[in-house]
């Protein structure tokens, strides 16, 4: 009955060898963490998380810049994070001595938010900078960290051109 069993054994050996090759290849090719959490490489999560940061976060800034924090607390810019205007400064936070933040051009930086646009919320302070200041730097009159010009000092009132355009579009 099993006269030609040798053929079957040969076939079985071939299949077993192929199976072994497949298993070895699979172990070698599939990353170790594949399937740790699901059908993907689990180590990819840690690799993504290991990327260095560029924005230090306002907590890092406020640890040193206490005078600016005090100033900002008195005005509407209290809620604006430092790096919203000053840009990404994680390198400065890591090494304050050798990396210094660049000086900002307020005529450009302020206009990014406060240039009038019909799609902006109506209660957001907006100006047409061409009418409001004629393109001169905003910090000529406004202190950027506490932008409201105090009305008690009449001097400040005089230096502010065309107040009518302020606050409304």
């Amino acid at each position: 009955m099993f006269k030609d069993i040798e053929h079957l054994i040969r076939l079985a050996v071939v299949i077993l060898v192929l199976l072994a090759v497949f298993v070895v290849l699979r172990v070698a090719v599939v990353p170790r963490s594949f399937g740790q959490y699901g059908h993907y490489r689990g180590a990819a999560i840690e690799e993504t998380a290991a990327r260095p940061i560029a924005f230090a976060g306002h907590d890092a800034c406020e640890a040193c810049q206490t005078d600016v924090v005090e100033q900002k607390k008195q005005g509407k810019h209290m809620v604006v994070a430092c790096e919203a205007c000053h840009g990404a400064l994680a390198k400065h936070a890591d090494d304050p001595a050798s990396v210094t933040p660049p000086k900002l051009d307020t005529a450009v930086v302020c206009a990014r938010c406060h240039e009038a646009n019909s799609a902006k919320p109506k209660d957001f302070p907006q100006v047409v900078t061409a009418d409001h200041s004629g393109g001169i730097a905003c910090d000529t009159c406004h202190q950027p960290h506490r932008p409201k010009i105090e009305t008690s000092t009449t001097e400040a009132k005089k230096t502010e051109p065309k107040t009518k355009t302020e606050g409304r579009k």
């Binding site: 070895v24 172990v27 070698a28 990353p31 170790r32 594949f34 959490y37 699901g38 059908h39 993907y40 490489r41 180590a43 990819a44 999560i45 840690e46 690799e47 993504t48 998380a49 290991a50 990327r51 260095p52 940061i53 560029a54 924005f55 976060g57 306002h58 809620v79 604006v80 994070a81 790096e83 919203a84 840009g87 990404a88 990014r112 938010c113 240039e115 009038a116 646009n117 019909s118 799609a119 902006k120 919320p121 957001f124 047409v128």
Partner: protein, 243 residues
């Protein structure tokens, strides 16, 4: 022990596998961060968005997003009178430099920041043939750029247009919800710089997160709910014309 041909043949595959692990190294782990204790999402408060483009610039800087590609972008909607089904949507350079002033002021005008919705049943992860994109246990859709083939299936599958192929790496890329920041206890770059608080990172598994109170007390929507993607970027004050 002599190194015979037989022994060498046995040792070579083993050595190759071992070397692979050595090369992979151990990535820097975030201490005290538990994957299962978070479920990240974002809240977009449309009435607060001023279209300044800070988020777009910050995202590009934080994540090395190439010029002309966007992980987040801002759209300006102009809805003329009753034409709610045909809004005019503009997004010059993704709103990176803000929006030109003196645009059509008639009708209804507002800004909508867009980003990956970090869907819990995301179509993009379902179509990936190799498992290079996935939803993490803390609810963030990530791309494994070392595993991605660049086949573009996911780019087509995303109903929100949130994915692109990075021209340098030729792999799929998208918003990672600043995973390298949120796992260190920081907020995302876009939320960090948003001057009006129109974007807020939220953790749905954190019972103390103000998101819960916000969702209870506001009329909040998600984008394209009919697609059943499980999108979890919540939009407050969203007009019906937004898609």
């Amino acid at each position: 022990m002599d190194l015979t041909r037989r022994r060498l043949l046995v040792l070579l595959p083993a050595a190759a596998v071992a070397w692979k692990y050595v090369l992979a190294g151990t990535p820097e782990a975030s201490p005290n961060y538990k994957l299962t204790e978070h479920w990240w999402t974002m809240l977009i408060d449309i009435p607060k968005c001023i279209g300044c483009g800070s988020c777009v610039r910050a995202c590009a800087e934080e994540n090395d997003v190439p010029d002309g590609y966007f992980r987040t972008w801002i759209e300006r909607y102009h809805v003329a009178d009753w034409k709610i089904e045909r809004p005019e949507v503009t997004s010059p350079n993704g709103g990176k430099q803000g929006f030109p002033p003196n645009q059509d002021a008639s009708g209804k005008n507002f800004f909508v920041p867009k980003l990956c919705n970090h869907c819990s049943d995301s179509p993009c992860t379902q179509v990936c043939p190799v498992g290079a994109t996935f939803v993490t246990p803390d609810g963030v859709v990530l791309v494994d750029k070392n595993y991605c083939l660049g086949c573009r299936y996911c780019v087509q599958a995303c109903p929100y247009g949130c994915r692109f192929i990075n021209p340098k790496t030729k792999t799929a890329e998208k918003c990672s919800l600043c995973y390298h920041r949120i796992t260190k206890g920081m907020t995302t770059a876009c939320c960090e710089v948003c001057p009006t608080g129109a974007r807020q990172l939220a953790d749905l598994k954190n019972p103390k997160d103000p998101i819960h109170e916000f969702l209870r007390t506001h009329n909040v929507q998600i984008l394209k709910p009919h697609m059943a993607t499980g999108a979890k970027v919540f939009y407050n004050g969203m007009d019906g014309s937004v898609r």
